[in-house]
């Protein structure tokens, strides 16, 4: 089973913190891969490049050239880039791939006139197009193309990879919201695109578990006519898309997410203050009900971070921290490694009805049960 670790902090911190935490949980994963999602970036990305879309991925030399041509054709000018081509031998099990890149672009003229939705759509289209270009001869791999977002994925032991890529060395890689996952996809063939966390238009999430309703949910999402609902190399990629659908398409608060994926039973709903709304939601979102064990940790565009459990709470998950920094972890030793001086009595392990949210201000752990009244949103 994968191990998940996420940090949300008021000040940018090194991604190595999260990787170290993963390392403490190594008994629980096989060290076969790592995925990182960095948001709320510090350093130059914050100071000079606010709002610039950042492309992250892995490229060969030829891939980089093709990328340059492609972005130029679209009027995107690279402003600043972190390009890292390791000279040393990669750790055991990691293939030599080329350059790991995070490139921030200046958007073309006229971009500002587009609505945010149109801008988003365009960025997603470009990311998909690049991914497709790369799929032909494997020279381009893109994981995200969105402002304030860097995603790193690689096969191999998380700690070794982190050190090999020198992730802690560059202060421009420090971030406020970090999702980290240890283990590659082992159900199917190894594929970097199948590695968590997944990202779409500002919504990122990672999961550990199996989604037995994968095919029906995938088919359902694909039929929603949303650009970007594609890929699905992993059966849990749908969790990210459901979070995207819930928050961005339906415009609901993240507290409604749990009601979409694991709705209440009818008798539990009977005396709920929002029963009519919940019944409506349950009925029409029935196709997105997940089964199987899962703990989902995710972060949203506004910088908030959340954790939810499956209906039966079959996966571990704990949230803890102190003012300014909070950790979401599969195991408590992960949190201990990063925030040992927190008040442990305030740690919270969400059960089958709970959603845990830590807002962008990193002030406190907010918990909400599905039995609670939802914020007025409609």
């Amino acid at each position: 089973m994968c191990r998940l670790f996420a940090l949300t902090s008021r000040d940018p911190i090194s991604p190595m913190l999260a990787i170290n935490a993963l390392n403490t949980m190594k008994e629980g994963h096989d060290g076969s891969g790592v995925g990182l999602c960095l948001r709320g970036l510090g350093g130059r990305f914050e100071e000079e490049l606010q709002g610039c879309p950042i492309l992250s991925g892995i490229f060969t030399e030829a891939g980089l050239r093709r990328l340059e041509q492609y972005t130029m054709d679209h009027g995107f000018k690279s402003q600043y880039s972190i390009l890292y081509t390791p000279e040393t031998e990669p750790p055991e099990g990691t293939p030599v791939r080329g350059t790991y890149a995070a490139i921030a672009y200046k958007v073309p003229r006229g971009w500002k006139e587009l609505t945010p939705a149109q801008q988003g759509q365009k960025l997603v289209e470009m990311r998909l197009e690049l991914r497709k270009m790369g799929e032909e001869d494997g020279d381009i791999m893109v994981f995200s193309f969105w402002p304030d977002t860097i995603i790193v994925k690689e096969v191999g032991d998380p700690l070794e990879i982190g050190e090999w890529l020198q992730l802690g060395a560059n202060r421009n890689l420090y971030a406020r919201h970090i999702l980290a996952q240890g283990r590659q996809n082992t159900n199917y063939a190894i594929n970097l695109y199948a590695c968590h966390p997944f990202f779409i238009e500002g919504v990122a999430s990672m999961t550990n578990g199996e989604n037995t309703a994968f095919i029906p949910i995938k088919e359902y999402l694909q039929s929603r006519n949303v650009t970007g609902y594609s890929g699905y190399q992993s059966d849990s990629e749908v969790f990210t898309h459901i979070a995207h659908y819930t928050t961005k398409r339906l415009g609901l608060d993240i507290r409604a997410y749990k009601h979409v994926i694991t709705p209440l039973m009818d008798h539990e709903m009977a005396d709920h203050p929002d029963r009519e709304f919940l019944a409506t939601l349950k009925r029409s979102c029935r196709k997105m009900i997940i089964d199987g064990p899962n703990c989902v940790i995710g972060t949203l565009d506004d910088g908030s971070m959340f954790m939810v459990q499956d209906r039966k709470k079959l996966r571990p998950g704990i949230v803890g921290g102190k003012d300014g920094i909070y950790a979401f972890s599969s195991e408590v030793c992960g949190i201990d490694a990063v925030i040992p001086d927190r008040d442990k009595s305030k740690d919270f392990q969400p059960m089958h009805l709970d959603t845990v949210i830590v807002g962008p201000d990193c002030k406190e752990i907010e918990t909400c049960s599905q039995k609670d009244q939802l914020p007025r949103q409609l």
Binding site: T280, R286, D291
Partner: protein
């Protein structure tokens, strides 16, 4: 039997018949029960004369004839009275002295099933034992990283939705604007398919309704039953139990007068209205209730004279196109109940099912689509229709589901599949396979008769005389002497029994697949079959 009896082309010997009676002279007490119970008068009391030649040991005396007479059972060889293998004679025989035996090698009888130039009609369903559904395996079992769910311990949500479900966007809009919500019923996914009051005996009907009411009210299982064509008893229409009933309107409109007139007095809405355009056992034909069964009660409920055959026209005569039909029928039926009742059509599976589906997806009032495959049953149809017409349900359903997936309406328009589910007794496995191929619910008729009332019919042409009102079990007969045999209370008990065991079995299937909180509709990745063509056609895994 005369020695000089004429032998004509249609003269058959006992050996030519499909079913032969074995009668044991030594065990028989000659009580006569078998002959009186035989629904088709296949056997009669025979007076047999026996001549023995007694030859004395010496040559002094001549040989003598000794004549004796004994009484026994004689099987008629006239195909009109051929034994149907129902085994009622055996059931009533105190000594087990008699019973039918299938003669596999005899094929002659079928050439003579058309007395007077009328092709054979019968009840039942196709006489073919094979079932594709039985070959499907469930193979996505969670074992190592994911604890398999426990069918006996975890919570399960098996209910499904009948009715138009709005998309998330639409439904939130409707909620916000307090708009009209299409009616949706939460029902148990195994529906009792249409078997009409007219085809069924009153005792059978009562037993079914009692069973359904018990399941709903005592066991909290929202089981629904369709009436079939022919109306509904007035008392039921005006009772609170109507909410468990799906009223069927077919092309003959039999019984609809009664229903329409009862609307103002209905205490509750019916569960749904099913508009029958076709049924799997006789695609392209209307209903057929032969005169044998049209007695006073049936005539009164259907609003027809007594003792006449009641064939429904093959299509609804007031409409000539499916578009018109969808628009008019669905709308006017919805209107009759103030748009509070889901209305959906039922069609026989055929290569045009997709066209019907297409029309429905565009109609906001359409509440679903029921599809009946070639293995569906009926109370009366021509042999040729039953055996040789129609489309298998699995691929038809799959096509329809896939068509919905393309348009993104797979959650919105429920598909109800029927026709041959549980034909070899594997009700839960067959139902689960269809659900995973895309059905929101499944419907069964004959299984209910077989399990609930002990129907004797089989896929080997056993019994199947449902059409002529002589049902030996009293299930499909309107003759009180016959249906007195059936105790409605016992039928209800059996219906409850098999529903409960179905419930257990279906959980045993879906729990190891890791599903419990929603029905695995469309979870085709869990299915496998060892037939490559079938696997390709259905889009499931090929496994050997």
């Amino acid at each position: 039997m005369l020695t000089e009896r004429p032998i004509t082309p249609s003269t058959l010997g006992v050996k030519d018949l499909n079913w032969q009676i074995e009668w044991d002279k030594d065990l028989c007490t000659q009580c006569g029960r078998c002959t009186s119970v035989c629904p088709v008068n296949a056997i009669e009391l025979g007076v047999h004369r026996k001549r023995e030649i007694k030859t004395p040991a010496s040559l002094m005396k001549k040989a003598e004839n000794e004549y004796s007479i004994f009484y026994g059972i004689r099987q008629k060889t006239d195909p009109a009275y051929a034994c149907i293998g129902c085994s009622m004679c055996n059931m009533v025989c105190p000594n087990n002295a008699i019973g039918p035996k299938r003669e596999e090698g005899s094929t002659t009888q079928k050439f003579h099933n058309d007395r007077g130039g009328n092709p054979r009609t019968r009840g039942g369903r196709r006489n073919s034992g094979e079932s594709l559904l039985d070959q499907i395996k469930f193979m996505r079992i969670s074992m190592l990283t994911d604890p398999a769910l426990d069918a006996g311990r975890h919570e399960f949500r098996l209910n499904t939705l009948l009715g138009r479900v709005q998309s998330p966007e639409e439904s939130l809009k409707t909620y916000q604007e307090h708009g009209w919500k299409p009616p949706v019923r939460e029902i148990y996914p195994l529906v009792i398919g249409g078997m009409s009051f007219g085809a069924m005996s009153p005792n059978m009907w009562e037993g079914l309704q009692m069973g359904v009411a018990y399941l709903n009210e005592e066991l909290n299982m929202p089981v629904r039953i369709s009436t079939g064509e022919g109306g509904c008893p007035p008392r039921l229409l005006r009772s609170r139990f109507l909410k468990y009933v799906i009223l069927q309107i077919a092309s003959g409109y039999f019984g609809w007068d009664e229903i329409i007139h009862a609307i103002p007095e209905m205490k509750v809405d019916p569960c749904a209205i099913e508009i029958k355009y076709g049924q799997g056992a006789k695609p392209g034909d209307g209903g057929l209730l032969m005169w044998y069964k049209v007695n006073k009660l049936i005539a009164a409920i259907r609003g027809v004279p007594e003792g006449v055959s009641l064939p429904s026209p093959p299509t609804h005569q007031t409409q000539y196109s499916i578009e018109e039909s969808v628009a008019k029928m669905i709308q006017s039926m919805s209107m009759a109940w103030g748009f509070r009742v889901p209305v959906y059509p039922k069609i026989s599976a055929s290569s045009t099912s997709l066209a019907v589906l297409n029309n429905l997806t565009r109609n906001p009032y359409a509440a679903g689509l029921a599809i009946d495959g070639e293995d569906g049953g009926t109370g009366a149809a021509y042999n040729v229709s039953m055996n040789h017409m129609g489309h298998p349900i699995a691929s038809n359903l799959r096509d329809c589901y896939n068509a919905l997936v393309v348009t993104g309406k797979q959650n919105e328009l429920p598909l109800i599949a029927g026709g041959g589910i549980g034909k070899s007794g594997n009700l839960a496995a067959n139902a689960a396979a269809l659900i995973m191929l895309g059905a929101s619910a499944v419907q069964v008729g004959k299984y209910v008769m077989q399990a609930g009332a002990g129907c004797l019919g089989s896929e080997k042409d056993r019994c199947n005389v449902c059409n002529i009102g002589v049902c030996p079990k009293g299930i499909t007969s309107q003759d009180p002497r016959l249906y007195r045999r059936l105790d409605p209370e016992k039928v209800a008990e059996r219906v409850v029994d098999f529903y409960l065991s179905f419930d257990t079995e279906i959980k045993k299937i879906i729990a190891p697949l890791g599903r419990s909180t929603s029905l695995p509709i469309g979870m085709a990745d869990a299915l496998g079959i060892s037939d490559r063509d079938a696997a390709d056609r259905l889009g499931i895994k090929y496994v050997v």
